[in-house]
């Protein structure tokens, strides 16, 4: 098991190096000179030169890359050009907000997606299955930022039930925090629920036709037990591998959801950084999400092996 994890870690290293080169190149290709923006209206040549030296922009590109990646490895992702805060600190500040949003969204997704997937697999070909599929496909086709706008229109503007925007830290007032976050989490969760439902359905369909399910039924076990104990547990394996994919969807979905509900999280940070040409922040975010994604993939692989006794023995 340990050698499997180590081997997977080794494979991840070249990928991470490539991402870092890509992220670095991206910044070098961005239009507009950050130094000119910082130097202000006068564009005093001495100031520009000083800033270039300060941010080591006069070094050759490979030197700049190694300086950057060396610093990144010890947790120094540079300083935000706009707020003068270290990028890592900025990300650390916003990340808990997005984690709360993502966790709540995931709960919505699991509670809706998995039962719907199981139900439509059991009732394959019936009206229930048909409706579940139509709803899931609609969930995939609705742009979630529009769903957010429509919810604000109905729930906040018309019925005035929930606030349209804002954020309350969870440790300050948990109840209020959940209340404010429930709409964005629902919007983000529905798209995931659709993906989850479709995967659960197809995994369940594969498992339900297998020999051991037929054996379990032949033994006279209750249908409920066959479905939950025998079928679903085995269908869970491919669903677990999905978690890495869902992570990507969550982060990307958070960008738009946070923009609509003005949630001060990770997603809003990247949009603001893009518009302010805050390169260091954009770079830091892309690097952190990509590494996060690779780590999630690694977890998914390990979980896959742990869940499958046949692979575990090898």
């Amino acid at each position: 098991m340990l050698s499997f994890i180590l081997r997977r870690l080794l494979v991840a290293i070249p990928t991470i190096i490539l991402i870092s080169i890509f992220v670095f190149a991206l910044q070098k290709l961005l239009p507009g000179d950050p130094v000119l923006a910082m130097a202000g209206e006068e564009r005093d040549p001495a100031t520009i030169e000083f800033l270039r030296e300060k941010y080591r922009l006069n070094d050759p590109l490979p030197v700049q890359y190694f300086t950057w990646i060396g610093n990144a490895l010890i947790g120094d992702l540079g300083i935000s050009l706009r707020t003068n805060q270290p990028v890592l600190e900025l990300i650390g500040e916003k990340l808990p907000v997005t984690i709360q949003l993502a966790t709540m969204a995931m709960i919505f997704a699991l509670v809706i997606g998995i039962p719907a997937g199981i139900l439509s697999a059991i009732k394959k070909g019936t009206v229930t299955d048909y409706i579940a599929n139509v709803v899931a496909l609609s969930g995939l086709s609705i742009p979630n930022f529009w769903l957010g706008i429509m919810l604000i229109l109905l729930v906040s503007v018309k019925w005035q039930l929930l606030p349209a925007s804002g954020y309350v830290p969870f440790d300050e007032d948990p109840l209020r925090s959940i209340q404010v976050m429930i709409m964005p989490a629902f919007v983000l969760g529905t798209a995931l629920a659709a993906t989850l439902m479709r995967h659960t359905r197809s995994a369940m369909l594969t498992v339900l036709t297998s020999d051991y399910v037929r054996t379990a039924r032949a033994k006279g076990l209750k249908e409920r037990r066959v479905i939950l104990k025998h079928a679903f547990r085995n269908a869970l394996t491919p669903i677990v591998t999905l978690s890495a994919l869902l992570f990507g969807e969550l982060i990307a979905g958070a960008v738009l959801t946070e923009q609509i509900f003005t949630v001060p999280g990770f997603g809003k940070l990247i949009v603001d950084a893009v518009f302010n040409r805050d390169y260091a922040v954009v770079q830091g975010i892309v690097l952190v999400t990509a590494v996060g994604f690779i780590v999630m993939n690694l977890f998914a692989d390990v979980a896959y092996v742990l869940l499958n006794p046949r692979l575990r023995k090898q």
Binding site: P31, S141, W146, L153, A252, V286
Partner: protein
């Protein structure tokens, strides 16, 4: 549809002819035609394509003409879908917006296919270090979430519809590299490819005659489904201000303005969203239907 050697006669007998039925083109088309949701998808897509193409000749208002006397008017006979914050006709902007959305969907996927499929074929067929380099780069690009990558690229290229299409196209490319590579690996292991090699066919011919036609169906399915994703991505970028620039209309940017007038002019937000939903649903249904029709195992 491929030409058949024997002349086709349409009568009751040949319609049920098991030999005729076994020809793959006939089978695929027949399955597709009876696939109700796929046909619905096809109709939805066709509707938007026709509307987008007819935009210049339809009797609608100028989509960029402002009318300060008719600001944020509710839907009426003159303006069937109402007007926006500077008095422009929402219906006209929706119809012209269809052009931007469909164009973005199709062009960005065309970019992804044109770059991704050849790279996937090279990686899958030749293997070795070319495969290693292409595969590692693909994995690295896949590690960044699709939309984050598209946002970062669109930001670096500068905000415009063309650049949004390029950004979405590049972000979708690794999907096609990976898919094509996997397909090529399984097709290249088939006996007929071995025999083609054994009789000394040049690689170019093997690729063109045996590999390419066999990897085409899954690529086609993926392309259709990716158009749906790309349309949402374009709307998202335009919504963030990184796509189509004003005053040119786009569904995403219409929603961006609409969210500021939710209580005064809800129609501004309603219709562009429904349009995005329907066209994306159309492509998703079409893709799912194509997959079922092209899958020889599904009956």
């Amino acid at each position: 549809m491929a030409q058949t050697a024997t002349p086709m006669t349409v009568d009751a007998e040949s319609a049920n002819d098991p030999v005729l039925d076994r020809r793959p083109e006939n089978r695929v088309w027949k399955k597709f035609r009876t696939h109700r949701s796929a046909m619905l998808g096809g109709v939805l897509v066709a509707f938007f394509v026709i509307i987008a193409m007819l935009a210049p000749v339809l009797p609608i208002a100028d989509p960029t003409a402002t009318d300060w006397g008719a600001v944020r008017q509710a839907p009426s006979l003159v303006h069937p879908l109402g007007t926006d914050e500077i008095g422009r006709d929402v219906l006209a902007r929706m119809i012209w917006g269809a052009q931007a959305s469909l164009l973005a969907g199709v062009v960005s996927v065309a970019i992804a296919v044109a770059v991704g499929v050849p790279l996937g074929i090279v990686a899958g067929y030749f293997g070795g270090w070319t495969d290693a380099v292409i595969s590692r780069c693909t994995e690295a690009l896949l590690a960044a979430p699709f939309l984050i990558l598209a946002i970062a690229l669109a930001a670096f290229l500068g905000p415009s519809l063309t650049n949004a299409m390029i950004a979405i196209g590049i972000s979708a490319t690794p999907l096609f590299v990976r898919l094509t590579r996997g397909q090529v690996l399984s097709v290249a292991a088939e006996d007929y490819v071995d025999s083609a090699r054994a009789i000394g066919l040049p690689t170019r011919k093997i690729l063109a005659r045996y590999i390419f036609p066999n990897i085409l169906p899954p690529v086609l399915v993926q392309a259709t489904l990716t158009i749906a994703t790309a349309i949402i991505a374009e709307a998202s970028l335009s919504f963030l201000g990184l796509g189509q620039q004003p005053p040119a209309p786009s569904w995403g940017s219409m929603l961006n303005t609409a969210k500021n007038f939710l209580s005064q002019a809800p129609w501004m937000a309603l219709y562009p969203g429904i349009a995005i939903f329907l066209v994306v649903l159309g492509f998703n249904l079409l893709g799912d239907g194509l997959r079922d029709a092209l899958d020889p195992r599904e009956q």
